[in-house]
């Protein structure tokens, strides 16, 4: 598909989850095995047009996510490729045992689409934050976790995960009006990280919304003479160890994620590094194993020091230790 400035701007305005739904409609003619279900969040998933155009390929599960995973598994056992959507804590935590049995144990080809992961729903609070979703899904053997850095990457990822045979957790994150990381077309491959900026002093490995914040932080740090390499680790599992090896010599490697620091991207990197001959000094930035106070998204990013200023400040402090 052609990617141009107008499309990138439009997707960005839609935000990740509505971009997802929009692309499901666009790709539908070439996804002959697709079947979509939602846990009563069709509109929140941006799926209205898909359902209008493909009424035979959609079913509402009502507000019963556990059953939805089971149904999707039964469809997958018979050759379909179901995409099922709900808010991220409900499509991972609430249904964890179903995911473990159906997508893990039986390795059925179901795509879990988690809406508004991280703290994207801001003032709605912790019932709807997706902070432990990455840790949970990493613990399921055979699960792939994809976390797009922006809406353009959602467009690339939807097609890639459809083409991939096996269970995937698609972690959609951020708000509508999301910042753009990828302004033009590029190669996206599951499991292959993308270096977005070169720098010799610090290597930042980020996922999702934190990719943009890291790029902004790198600009701030550059003003103080600190050069950062910034890597978009859009696939958290399986993690791109070739890229991790390539940055093992940096004096500081920083993992940044909009998730609990327990069991997430930083944990995945640390688990890899400690078993290698060369284990770099690391920082892991995310939500520090707490239920953060709810607030507007940008307020929360500031409070959690996950905005560009907070990230830059913490890296500089670490280098001065």
């Amino acid at each position: 598909m052609e990617i141009n400035k107008v499309k990138v701007r439009t997707w960005s305005m839609l935000g990740e989850r509505r971009t997802f739904g929009t692309m499901m409609d666009v790709y539908a003619p070439e996804m002959d095995k697709v079947f979509v279900m939602s846990g009563d969040l069709l509109t929140s998933s941006g799926l209205d047009r898909f359902v209008r155009n493909n009424p035979d390929k959609f079913l509402s599960a009502g507000i019963s996510e556990q059953n939805m995973v089971g149904i999707a598994s039964g469809l997958a056992a018979n050759g379909y490729k179901p995409f099922i959507t709900s808010f991220s804590p409900f499509i991972t935590g609430r249904v964890y045992d179903q995911v473990r049995m159906h997508l893990g144990y039986m390795h059925h080809d179901v795509k879990l689409v988690g809406l508004a992961a991280g703290i994207g729903v801001g003032i709605q609070g912790n019932s709807h934050f997706g902070l432990d979703d990455v840790a949970l899904m990493r613990a399921v053997p055979g699960m792939v976790i994809v976390e797009p850095a922006d809406c353009t990457e959602v467009v690339k990822a939807v097609k890639a995960i459809y083409d991939y045979d096996g269970p995937v957790y698609l972690r959609l994150i951020g708000e509508a009006g999301a910042p753009v990381v990828n302004h033009a077309d590029y190669d996206f491959e599951i499991g292959k990280a993308i270096t977005l900026r070169e720098g010799k002093d610090v290597a930042i490995v980020a996922a999702g919304t934190m990719v943009y914040q890291s790029l902004e932080a790198a600009k701030l740090l550059a003003e103080n003479g600190i050069e950062c390499k910034v890597i978009n680790m859009h696939t958290i599992k399986p993690i791109d160890t070739v890229t991790l090896d390539a940055i093992a010599d940096y004096k500081l490697v920083v993992a940044i994620e909009e998730a609990n620091v327990v069991g997430g991207l930083g944990s995945a990197m640390a688990e890899y590094y400690v078993q290698q001959a060369k284990c770099p000094k690391m920082m892991i930035m995310g939500v520090n194993d707490c239920f953060p106070k709810a607030g507007k998204y940008n307020y929360m990013l500031r409070e959690l020091e996950l905005d560009a200023e907070g990230i830059a400040k913490r890296i500089e402090e670490k280098l001065n230790e």
Binding site: N67, A72, S73, G74, A77, D97, M101
Partner: protein
């Protein structure tokens, strides 16, 4: 598919029970879920003997009928049925049932080639999976049935109720659910632990509800014949059963929810089953 006479189905029941006892005995001192395997033996015989369309030489045939065992812990009954109809050999059962690294552990692992449609053991999940299969069959315009066996104790699980509601909403008349209502669960009587009026509740939810004697083959036969011809909604056959059915010292004795057989008990059990203690 095998078409059997009532007498042949009864004989299949008896052979399934005998294989359950033999496999439990072969497992040695390892505890085995026997009671709930015996309580569903007649249901399995009616399905594999008469109603299910399957071909052991073409197990992946898309149009096959499927059996989803939701009460996975009682899969010894399923293994015995699969051994009796030829999906697995008696030797494979002996070599793999509860054996290190074998493909027939205490809770079933999906292996469609051997007739096992779904990994289960975490309760309350079979019907949801069956709904997905039933929807797939409808979309592919395959006219077949998805049979499911749940336990009455298992109906405590909330996920099962999500599936009860959805199966009706989606009008899945290609689903036939058996509830093996043996009245006992791990810690005691269902009536004491979490009583549910299953027939009333499922009727209220819009299911076709048939109540049957789960050990009377004629009764089960008639109920299943009716169930596979019902339309517009799924059918549940609530089968009144006895946990441990066929072996006097196991019947209604929850010690045999999970237990192992001494040599004397083994010989008595085999004798009672051979004598046709029904």
């Amino acid at each position: 598919m095998t078409i059997m006479s009532i007498e042949e189905i009864k004989d299949l029941s008896s052979r399934i029970r005998r294989t359950i006892i033999e496999a439990a005995h072969d497992a040695g001192n390892q505890g085995v879920h026997i009671g709930g395997a015996l309580s569903m033996a007649d249901i399995l015989a009616v399905l594999y003997g008469e109603f299910m369309n399957y071909d052991i030489h073409n197990p992946l045939d898309e149009s096959r009928d499927r059996l989803v065992l939701s009460k996975g812990h009682d899969c010894l009954g399923l293994y015995a049925a699969l051994a009796e109809v030829g999906f697995i050999t008696k030797q494979e059962l002996k070599d793999n049932y509860l054996q290190d690294g074998g493909f027939l552990p205490t809770h079933p692992v999906k292996c469609v080639e051997k007739g096992i449609e779904c990994s289960s053991g975490s309760l309350g999940m079979g019907l949801g999976f069956a709904i997905g299969e039933a929807l797939a069959m409808k979309m592919k315009k395959i006219d077949n049935h998805i049979f499911v066996i749940m336990g009455d104790g298992e109906c405590d699980e909330g996920s099962g109720w999500e599936a009860f509601i959805a199966a009706k909403q989606y009008k899945l008349d290609n689903i036939v659910l058996f509830i093996d209502k043996n009245g006992l669960q791990s810690d005691g009587a269902v009536a004491d632990i979490m009583p549910i009026n299953l027939a009333g509740a499922l009727r209220e939810l819009g299911w076709h509800v048939i109540e049957a004697n789960g050990h009377n083959v004629e009764d089960l036969y008639k109920a299943t014949r009716q169930a596979v011809s019902n339309t517009d909604a799924p059918t549940v056959i609530i089968a009144e059963t006895v946990k441990g059915k066929g072996v006097s010292f196991m019947e209604n004795n929850n010690a045999w929810h999970h237990g192992h057989l001494s040599e004397e008990q083994y010989e008595q059990a085999i004798k009672e089953i051979s004598d046709g203690n029904q």
